[in-house]
């Protein structure tokens, strides 16, 4: 091979693969292990492996209202360290079955040698307390009423009897030996989980990620997208936005990253995707076919159902799962690993995976192409005005409704100080109250007004839209026939 051809080949490979490097991450979770014992107000815990505690989970045995929680972790090698950042949790309503997580945002609670657990004095103490007053600073912790809590391990074994909440702990460690390291930047978990069937209409979304301190500054952020699969099929995007960005946040601090939100969703099939974003220095130069310098990687998708699934949604979910079987079945899903499946002298060589990699564009690449098409073509004059109008019409942002004020003169008006009554109509209160009233109506068998009438109204509106379009097309057809017959005569 000529040197110039070799250089061209290297440049071509660099063009194609250069901007798509994905870094894999491995995490080993050691679920609750070790031994427990308790004395006085704190529970003592002895894990079975070295590592850094970065996640504590609590859940109640009974519902609580307006409680505030805090935790202090103390033990060998981490005396006085606390769970910073997410230490304070304000819980308006904490129902049985819900849980609250405390995360060690600064990754400071490191224990280097658990063999010290052989003596009871060196156990790690977990002191969890709650109060009905807000906790604004760590100093408030000392003012807590030292109320006893019932703490249990993951096997629901009661380890400390008292009153209050149950306790469940998780310890995340990496696979390396000391010094402790909690691993690469990654998305650890997010929910709803794959295959979940969620009872709507309110759906909760939770994401847990970890940002390594070395990556702050080089990683631009984390993005979570919710996609309504039903509306993404048959190009029904016009019906309403099929994708909603739940989160697009920049990463500025190291440690655990948590995000929780809830939104109202109708019945159907959905897909949620969580990605880390990374800024590429000179990304455009490396890959001139894409002007996007933010590359998303470590993307993970979960498909779930709210209420009743739809026929089209089920088909779409199955197709998505089968397509991704090629990728998720591998030990790593980076482009480099997938590309190696096309190399016949590589141990990963696999014709099936290679074919899928070559001919099936992944959702991320397709989304980039669509974004490029939108930015480069659809926003140009004159059709850009149509695109802008469509963007505004399909936006989900809300604005306060106007308030009306009316002044009414109550007397004859001949006095020096007329009696004027001013009435103010706040449409926001009126409409919110009316909507709540309508949604509160229930039938005798427990179905809400919405459960009963939403499918009916959807069918009526859908039929009206289809009839309007059909009439438009068929009437024009008759019109064409009239014109043709006139020409013939």
């Amino acid at each position: 091979m000529k040197l110039t051809n070799l250089v061209k080949l290297i440049v071509l490979i660099f063009f194609i693969f250069g901007a798509n490097t994905v870094y894999g991450a491995t995490i080993y979770e050691q679920p609750d292990g070790g031994t427990f014992h308790s004395t006085g107000g704190a529970m003592y815990f002895c894990p079975t492996a070295n590592g850094t505690i970065n996640h504590l989970r609590f859940y109640p045995t009974s519902s609580y209202q307006d409680n505030y929680f805090a935790a202090v972790i103390q033990g060998p090698g981490m005396m006085g360290n606390t769970f910073d950042g997410a230490l304070y949790k304000s819980l308006v309503s904490w129902e049985t079955g819900d849980y609250v997580d405390l995360y060690n945002d600064n990754a400071t609670s490191t224990v280097s040698d658990y063999t010290m657990c052989s003596t009871s004095s060196n156990f790690i103490s977990v002191d969890v307390r709650y109060d009905n007053l807000p906790i604004d600073t760590i100093d408030d912790f000392g003012n807590f009423g030292n109320q006893a809590l019932t703490m249990e391990d993951n096997n629901n074994q009661v380890t400390y009897s008292g009153e209050g909440a149950r306790y469940e702990q998780h310890l995340f460690v990496d696979g390396e030996s000391a010094p402790p390291n909690i691993g690469d930047t990654r998305i650890i978990s997010f929910s709803p989980e794959e295959g979940d069937v969620v009872t709507g209409p309110t759906v909760d979304f939770d994401v847990l990620a970890y940002i390594n301190a070395d990556d702050v500054g080089s990683y631009s952020g984390i993005k979570i997208t919710l996609e309504n699969i039903d509306q993404n099929v048959l190009l029904l995007g016009f019906l309403s936005p099929s994708s909603v960005v739940l989160l697009n946040d920049d990463i500025t601090t190291a440690g655990s990253y948590t995000f929780s939100t809830s939104t109202t969703l109708g019945d159907g099939n959905y897909r949620i995707e969580a990605c880390l974003r990374r800024s590429y220095l000179g990304g455009w130069i490396v890959n001139p076919f894409s002007n996007v310098v933010d590359n998303e990687f470590d993307c993970k998708s979960h498909q779930f159902i709210v209420g009743e699934p739809t026929f089209i949604g089920n088909i779409s979910q199955r197709a998505f799962s089968e397509t991704n079987e090629f990728f998720t079945g591998l030990s790593a899903t980076s482009s480099a690993v997938l590309a190696s499946s096309c190399n016949p002298i590589n141990a990963n060589f696999d014709v099936r995976t290679c074919s899928a990699y070559l001919f099936i564009p992944d959702s991320y690449s397709m989304r980039l192409v669509m974004e490029d098409a939108r930015n480069g073509i659809l926003t140009r004059v004159p059709w850009g005005y149509l695109t802008r109008t469509y963007t505004i019409l399909t936006a989900s942002t809300t604005a306060s409704l106007p308030t009306f004020t009316s002044s009414i003169q109550m007397d004859s008006g001949w006095t020096d100080t007329p009696d004027i009554e001013t009435l103010t109509f706040d449409m926001n209160d009126m409409i919110a109250g009316g909507g709540t009233l309508v949604d509160s109506l229930e039938s005798t068998d427990g179905h809400t007004f919405r459960d009963i009438f939403q499918p009916i109204i959807q069918i009526i509106i859908g039929m009206m839209v289809i009839f309007t379009i059909y009439s438009d097309i068929s009437s024009s057809h008759n019109h064409q026939q009239e014109k043709t017959s006139k020409q013939n005569t």
């Binding site: 016009f238 490029d372 989900s396």
Partner: protein, 87 residues
Amino acid sequence: MIINLLLNVIVLFLGAIFSWLPQVTLLPNVAGADIDTALMTGVGQLNTFMNAFWPIYIMFQGFIFLMGYYAVKVVVRFFIGHRTPGH
């Protein structure tokens, strides 16, 4: 990879053709009125209303779908003229 590359090339080609056209970021002012802000506020208030009364949201979905049909028809008419259905 291959299909993605082809799509990228197509988008790049079309983008290059239309690159001389100005890009629309906001709707224009008409007779001093900020149409873009007015429309955003109006749609925001409509969203507030629709959040409270979900039947309105379904009707609005139908309206947007119908507007999409007419928009597609305009584009099709641009390319094939009087042979467009509904012309």
